[in-house]
């Protein structure tokens, strides 16, 4: 192969390079590149053909024999013969071939595109050594059912010391920081690494060393490790960077090494790694004072189930030892991939199942076309049989045709997939942080899948057509070629195929209908605030200039005043938690006058730090009391605002205003009650929330919420300009409108809606084409019978009804089967649905109605033709 490909490829390359020198424009260059790539591909295929042909059949001796000297009995020659014959037959009937190819190419293409994403997200190994042994620790509050990824520091220390399932457990935290001293300050992603994190991930240094446990000890000199990409990008791969000081935020840190390129969490860039302090023991009163994330590496041979059994025992022990913080708290480990992929796994598998159904429908349709075609070729088959061809040879011929069709469709499908996969990735929610997603490609595994799907497809529809070949009817076909009809088997097979198509289409239609109803319900949900005309923008001020709460409060006051003075700005507020992004941080709630019994854990309510302007900007209604205002400062007594749900739950028959609750700063007075909002997600029930005043202790990093009178996108430059005028070193983080945030929270439902809707439309169309084909055939077959009926006095309506009745029988059977299958299949949608049951009668009825209408429409053409049959001509033909 090499001796053929190499010189031929060299010729291609020379021609390409010569043409490239003559090319005058970029367009011409691009064209040349595409042509070159296509020619190399064709050359590779041709080399394969030439070498296989030369090896297997045509060149057993040297010098080469003349073409007539081939040995027809050799298997390869037979294969080539079948393939050529199949190709000729397919080219002879371009209408059939194009219809079948288009149907299959779309079906295969959709499957390949979805599989490419599944491969990248679910199958491709994560980029760590022994990645399947990595797990993320999580904990679940059994009282509320809420699951969180962060681990209370006290629990982390105890779990790390007592567990026996993991080789190591390491704490980490992700953040952002500003680097000064290298031109303009620039923003970097930081990974706070607890002792052992980089060992757990098996990261190696490229230069210098990585972090050591001593680096995390309080009081040691601050150090940092540079990420590979940052070292290349910002420090020009300087080999002498080790030992230099780099100012990260308020502190200068010594660079001790450069790590190899890696990402952690798997989709996050790591620019800088700094040591994260983890205390050796956790003091009882600070157990929940700090919440790192934790990643663990399973011991070799230990399964995730074993680890979870171990963690369950430890969780129970901690519940008994620290009931006030750990009651009903359960720790568990989730494989790293599952933690990264989250809900998308179910959505992707659902999608794969849906495209699989579309392909099945496509196969059923092509099988129907093949059966109809084999009928038309009955005479050809009969002649072949009469000349001695066995049934096996005819079946082999039909299978060769199917294979030829399916493989061509597979190639076209791979092209469809290359185009479709980009659109699919663009549709995926931003919350899907699988590292493979940035690199979804049609690689060897995907092409293998394409080949597998193509061959399976060929067998599926080819066998149905092949099974209709019968020896005994051959003589009939020869004697009376004009009266060739489908055998009973073939007739039943085509009707059964259409029934299956309709049933499958109903399943998809019901799925799409249920998701559509969920989506409509989600759109109608009142989140408790108004998301329109609100711009949100994260920002951070340098911590060395704003060291204390007073200086930060001063900045916030100046910033608020400057922003409010801008035209188009109505209200300005800040908050820490962005609504509708899944955040479910909570805080214990305890009335000072009704303390929780000793040994019991206080209930938890949602946690938010917000300024008074936040409520105005989001138009969260004030129900009682007041919002936070200028009178709340770092030096005044602690105050809080509660949501109505807190009022109802903890102060059912009294006013909450003026009551005291326990907070981190001591007793805090409730000064206001605001409306409930759906904070984490639109599907969330409105939860009890506790708001702490941003005015009392604004942080260095916060999110701005600005209500505008015009389109919010337009005010962004003026917002940034006003803030930069106050603090030139301010760093701006992500900026987007609150409407975009709300839309993003519905993206999984939207994606499912778009795709299932698309698949449902395709399958209805295919099913309609299928029933049209069958009914057309039925009408052709019964033309004489219809002619006789008309001659005997049947009206056009009677004839039309005759045809429609047969179509209706097929449609009814398919619909009944489809509805039954839908009731089972739609259960897999439960996680995506909102406010609608998986067996919603309205959706089932509308889906069935739509499909029956589509089949009715498809039957109209054949029925119309039947009604116009001229009895005189038909009977005369007899």
């Amino acid at each position: 192969m090499r001796e053929v490909f190499e010189p031929a490829h060299a010729d291609l390359r020379i021609a390409y390079l010569e043409a490239r020198q003559r090319a005058r424009s970029r367009l011409a260059l691009a064209r040349l590149r595409i042509l070159y790539a296509a020619r190399v591909l064709l050359l590779a295929l041709d080399c394969g053909r030439v070498v296989i042909a030369g090896t297997l059949a045509f060149d057993r001796s040297h010098p080469p024999q003349l073409p007539g000297d081939r040995h027809p009995q050799e298997p390869f020659t037979m294969l080539v013969y079948y393939a050529r014959h199949a190709l000729r037959l397919l080219l002879r009937e371009p209408g059939f071939t194009i219809a079948a190819l288009l149907t299959l190419a779309l079906g295969v293409g959709a499957n390949v595109a979805v599989f490419a994403v599944v491969e990248a997200v679910l199958l491709r190994p994560l980029p760590y050594v022994d990645a399947d042994r990595l797990a993320i620790l999580k904990h679940r509050d059994q009282r509320t059912g809420l699951t969180k990824q962060d681990v209370a520091m006290g629990d982390f220390v105890d779990l790390a010391a007592r567990q026996s399932a993991f080789e190591s457990i390491a704490g980490y935290g992700s953040g952002q920081g500003l680097v000064f001293g290298f031109g303009d300050p620039f923003r970097v992603s930081t990974l706070g690494a607890g002792p052992g994190l980089l060992d757990t991930l098996r990261v190696r240094p490229v230069l210098g060393r990585l972090l050591q446990p001593d680096d995390s000890r309080p009081g040691t000199a601050p150090v940092m490790v540079l990420g590979y990409e940052l070292w290349q990008r910002r420090f020009g791969s300087d080999p002498n960077i080790v030992g230099r000081g780099v100012k990260l935020g308020p502190r200068e840190r010594q660079v001790v090494g450069v790590a190899e390129a890696f990402r952690f969490p798997p989709a996050a860039t790591v620019d800088v790694i700094v040591p994260m302090t983890v205390p050796a023991t956790a003091p009882a009163e600070r157990r929940s004072g700090w919440w790192p994330y934790a990643v663990a590496r399973l011991k070799p041979g230990t399964s995730i189930e074993d680890a979870n059994a171990n963690l369950a025992i430890l969780s129970t022990a901690l519940q008994h030892e620290y009931p006030r913080s750990n009651q009903a708290s359960e720790y568990f480990a989730l494989p790293l991939r599952d933690a990264v992929v989250g809900d998308t796994k179910a959505a992707l598998l659902l999608l794969l199942a849906a495209v699989g159904v579309v392909l099945l429908i496509a196969c059923a349709n092509v099988a129907n076309l093949m059966v109809a075609r084999s009928l038309a070729r009955r005479r050809e088959m009969a002649v072949r049989m009469a000349l001695g061809a066995g049934r096996a040879q005819l079946v082999a011929q039909l299978l060769a045709e199917s294979l030829m069709l399916a493989l061509t469709a597979g190639c076209a499908g791979a092209l469809v997939a290359m185009w479709g996969v980009r659109g699919l990735v663009a549709l995926l929610p931003a919350s899907v942080a699988a590292p493979g997603l940035a690199d979804v490609r049609i690689d060897g595994r995907v092409l293998g899948f394409t080949l597998g799907v193509s061959v399976a497809t060929a067998l599926l529809f080819g066998l149905v057509a092949a099974l209709t070949v019968k020896r005994e009817s051959a003589s009939g076909a020869l004697v009376a070629p004009g009266r060739v009809t489908m055998s009973r088997t073939a007739r039943r097979a085509t009707s059964a195929l259409v029934v299956v198509e309709i049933a499958l289409a109903i399943v998809l239609l019901v799925g799409a209908g249920l998701i559509l109803r969920s989506f409509v319900r989600l759109l109608a949900v009142d989140p408790g605030f108004r998301a329109d005309h609100v711009m949100t923008m994260g920002f951070a001020v340098p911590s060395d200039r704003y060291k204390d709460a007073d200086s930060r409060r001063g900045f916030h006051d100046r910033a608020s005043a400057a922003l409010r003075a801008l035209p188009d700005v109505r209200d300005v507020g800040t908050a820490v938690v962005m609504p509708l992004t899944g955040n479910n941080w909570t805080v214990p709630f305890e009335r000072v006058d009704q303390p929780v019994a000793a040994g019991a854990r206080p209930p938890e309510v949602g946690w938010q730090v917000a300024s008074g302007g936040y409520f105005r900007a989001l138009q969260i209604p004030l129900v009682a009391g007041r919002l936070f205002d200028d009178s709340d400062t770092p030096h005044t007594r602690p105050v809080v605002i509660i949501s109505e749900a807190v009022q109802r739950r903890f102060f059912p028959d009294e006013s909450a205003i003026g009551r005291l609750i326990q907070s981190g700063d001591g007793p805090a007075e409730i000064v206001g009650v605001v409306g409930n909002i759906r904070r984490a997600d639109l599907r969330d029930e409105p939860r009890a929330d506790l708001y702490f005043p941003a005015e009392r202790g604004p942080g260095n990093e916060t999110t701005l919420f600005v209500r505008t009178t015009s389109e919010p996108d337009g005010v962004l430059p003026s917002l940034q300009g006003a803030l930069r005028a106050i603090e030139p070193n301010i760093a701006f983080l992500e900026a987007r409108t609150l409407s975009d945030v709300a839309a993003a929270s519905m993206q999984v439902t939207q994606l499912a809606l778009w795709l299932l809707g698309l698949f449902a439309v395709i399958s209805i169309s295919l099913a309609a084409v299928g029933i049209y084909g069958v009914m057309s055939y039925v009408v052709r077959q019964r033309t004489r019978e219809i002619g006789t009926r008309v001659a005997l006095g049947a009206t056009r309506m009677d004839i039309a009804w005759l045809v429609m009745r047969q179509g209706a029988a097929i449609a009814s059977l398919g619909t009944a089967l489809g509805l039954a299958a839908s009731l089972v299949a739609s259960r897999s949608l439960a996680a995506i649905l909102f406010g609608v049951s998986t067996s919603d009668p309205a959706t089932l009825a509308v889906s069935a109605g739509t499909l029956i209408a589509a089949t009715f429409a498809a039957c109209c053409g054949p029925a119309h033709r039947a009604a116009r049959v001229d009895p005189a001509r038909t009977l005369a033909d007899q």
Partner: protein
């Protein structure tokens, strides 16, 4: 005189050997030259034929580096071996003698 026997090379191989009589050539120039005789072979089929001629010792092939613009490329060049030259001469002699014999035959009939 040796008794003439059927040549071992095909017409196409004879043509290739004939073109190479005038000196060594790169593969693509050789392909172009035989194209002038109406021979249409895909690059793969052509180089497979050349590989067989090399295997049988009738031609010798080697890679030569050339530069186009700033890119270095290697191309396959070929020359005829003594065995190839002998095979070509033998084939040519065969057809010439067969042609002459046929002509003699016609004259004697007349």
């Amino acid at each position: 005189m040796r008794k003439p026997r059927l040549p071992e090379v095909t017409h196409l191989q004879f043509l290739v050997l004939a073109v190479l009589q005038s000196g060594e050539r790169p593969g693509r120039s050789l392909r172009k030259a035989i194209g002038q005789y109406g021979v249409r072979r895909t690059a793969a089929a052509f180089y497979q034929m050349m590989a067989r001629l090399e295997r049988d010792g009738l031609v010798e092939g080697w890679y030569d580096q050339i530069t186009i613009g700033d890119q270095a490329v290697t191309e396959r060049r070929y020359r005829v071996t003594p065995a190839g030259a002998a095979a070509w001469a033998e084939t040519r002699a065969f057809y010439e003698s067969a042609g002459l014999a046929a002509a003699r035959e016609r004259w004697s009939d007349a």
